[in-house]
Amino acid sequence: MAAVHGDAHGHGHDDHHPSGIMRWVRTTNHKDIGTMYLWFSFTMFLVGGFLAMGIRAELYQPGIQILEPELFNQFTTLHGLIMVFGAIMPAFVGFANWQVPLMIGAPDMAFARMNNWSFWLLPVAGTLLVSSFFVPGGAAAGGWTFYPPLSTQGGLGVDLMIFSVHILGASSIMGSINIITTILNMRAPGMTLMKMPMFVWTWLITAYLLVLVMPVLAGVVTMLLTDRHFGTSFFNAAGGGDPVMFQHIFWFFGHPEVYIMILPAFGIVSEIIPTFSRKPLFGYSSMVYATASIAILSCVVWAHHMFTAGMPTVGQLFFMYATMLIAVPTGVKVFNWTATMWRGSMSFETPMLFAIGFIFLFVIGGFSGVICAIVPIDIQVQDTYYVIAHFHYVLVSGALFSLFAGVYYWLPKWTGHMYSETLGKWHFWLSMFFFNLTFFVQHFLGLAGMPRRIPDYNIQFADFNMISSIGAFGFGLTQLLFLYIVINCIRGGEKAPQMPWDGATTLEWTHLPSPAPYHSFETPPIVK
């Protein structure tokens, strides 16, 4: 009977898959894997958020109250590592897994089994990172940039971090190769490169950046490992090495990494703005070229993180000019989004609110970025709270807000249910308010001279630190509301139509029901 049953359905259309936990362990389905990526990153987001709450609780008042300086440094270090490598990056890969095949009309990712492997490496790496708090000597405490010689001094926690970074890097490289192969080979007939949705374009470019720079990171952490344990002296002056060489190699990875975390965000916003403006994206091809120029420029600006490390004048000038140049393609993007909204017929559902919030706050982060690019000013603000404010404006209200926007935008397609619009709007406005309460004041702290990564500060910084901490607690709590909204939407709610947004034009809305079936596009659609 079983055989007959199988024949009757034909293997190609068989929706059977293992149930329970084995479904998730063994799955090769891009939707399941995308879902796991997103849940993993949200879990890490909560862990990293918990660490942030600890940091802000300690900084609520001057004096040492909750975290001793050693533990405080572990908190800041792991907060950075977990948010960058555990929360933001996997979340975008989760989006790529769900959306790239749906948006290019492919049945799945190109390497389905490797896809499973690249996901399941992540919990291992995440566990290594989190468990490093409980080993003798505690977690790594040299900052998320783990500059030697300080990171050469650390204990077992640093080694766990190094292995964790190795594993995360391997996962990212496999994920990117998969994305590149899928996009280049599996597009529906008629979908030329210049007809691809913007989100797919940004991910294609991001994936190339990842393949370029993740091996560099793996190399530099390996050099650190051999310096620590095998007697090499890459970064030890006493043995003929140079601590500053670490910074050059690290930031050769680290700066493109910044754009790895923001280019897919640009992609998500470039899908949402036209949809809710009911008008095509303005300047599609200039958008593609701008993304590519940002990616290329991002590889030649790394030393702007090192203006105080000591560089020749010509070096400082080169990196200043190159960095400032990035403002041009970034500006083009912002102008294009504005022109897309201009004379549209806009409505303001939660995804659109988060997308507009993204543009508004990302531009503020962009301004402070230009200010940080100017060498003389950077000399003053480098390693102060000004820099903290700057990169939280581009990473939280940039990358994270775009992720929220994307989740609200695609939840109806993923779950088949509408999320609660009222609660979604609450989530947006509370996030917006508390985010600015937390980070806007940090600009002033930095200008006034408060260094970053300190557990205690002079009383002149007390009032703004208190405001910032209150904002941070509010922002943290608000994200539990997001969890509630998402769980509610998965478990039920108003049925989502195939096309809940009138302005959407990409294949997942035009060709697939909501929720998208487990196997979609077994026969590729024709794109005209």
Binding site: G344, S347, P451, I459
Partner: protein, 273 residues
């Protein structure tokens, strides 16, 4: 509609509050005390004005559109999607603005990197967690001391009230004469530290095994405080830098006292042998 205007109003008033706090208070760069710090301060203000102008222009357009071009007002969407001329213009204009920003910055970079012909040279060495100073050249040559945080532990542990210079006070200040070009040579003993005095516009990493340098010329006598600016381990937040700038005469007296004290120490040392 009403709830939206309430939100807008509260947003605007919050911003206004922030800005009023920022203007002319301690929440900007500290009052510049050297020519480089003055340049930095002025360029920052200039850039803020440029940013503000761009901000108003871009978001003026965007928020006008958000208010007027709404589906709820029955606005029908246009269908344009590119314009080479417009795109060309908004690529060129930012380039011009950037050149205008880069020009003064370049001049300052060249000036701040020029550590040649100083009146005096001091070597600062970063330790976990204090600074060591050696006067290498110029008036005061031969003076050498360590400079450690002098805030009592009880204040950090909240067992005593915190003073005005909490965490920004040291046992031995770096003393320099007013109006003289001071070159600071930096290195470190263990990990990377950074020597930073905001009012003097001077920040430079101290890298173990290597020599870096920076310079300043203080405009006025006074006490200028800064902190280590590169994460250097547990007590990174507890190794401040205090520079005391004195009139030439007073400085000479300070030098004499220091050299005398160390001569006494040395002779005692010799006698003991």
């Amino acid at each position: 509609m009403r709830s939206k205007s309430v939100v807008t109003l509260s947003g605007i008033s919050a911003l206004a509050l922030y800005s009023s706090m920022a203007v002319g208070s301690k929440y900007n760069f500290p009052e510049p005390q050297s020519v480089i710090a003055r340049d930095i301060y002025d360029q920052h203000i200039l850039l803020m004005w440029i940013c503000l102008a761009i901000f108003v222009a871009v978001f003026g357009v965007m928020f006008y559109s958000i208010l007027k071009h709404r589906k709820s007002l029955g606005y029908k969407a246009a269908n344009f999607h590119h314009s080479t001329a417009v795109e060309f213009i908004w690529t060129i204009i930012p380039c011009i603005i950037l050149i205008a920003m880069a020009y003064p910055a370049t001049k300052t970079v060249i000036a701040m990197k020029d550590t040649s012909s100083p009146d005096m040279t001091i070597k600062a060495t970063g330790y976990q967690w204090m600074w060591g100073y050696d006067y290498l050249q110029g008036e005061g040559e031969g003076i050498s001391f360590y400079s450690k945080l002098s805030t009592p532990r009880a204040q950090v542990e909240n067992k005593a009230p915190k003073g005005e210079n909490y965490l920004l006070e040291v046992d031995n200040r770096v003393v320099v004469p007013v109006g003289k070009k001071v070159r600071v040579i930096l290195t470190a003993n263990d990990v990377i530290h950074a020597w930073w005095v905001p009012a003097l516009g001077s920040k430079q990493d101290a890298v173990p095994g290597f020599i870096r340098d920076t310079w300043f010329t203080a405009d006025k006598p006074g006490v200028y405080r800064g902190q280590c600016a590169e994460l250097c381990g547990k007590d990174h937040g507890f190794m401040p830098i205090v520079v005391e700038v004195m009139e030439a005469g007073e400085y000479s007296k300070w030098v004499a006292a220091q050299l005398n004290a160390s001569a006494v120490k040395t002779s005692m040392h010799v006698e003991n042998k």
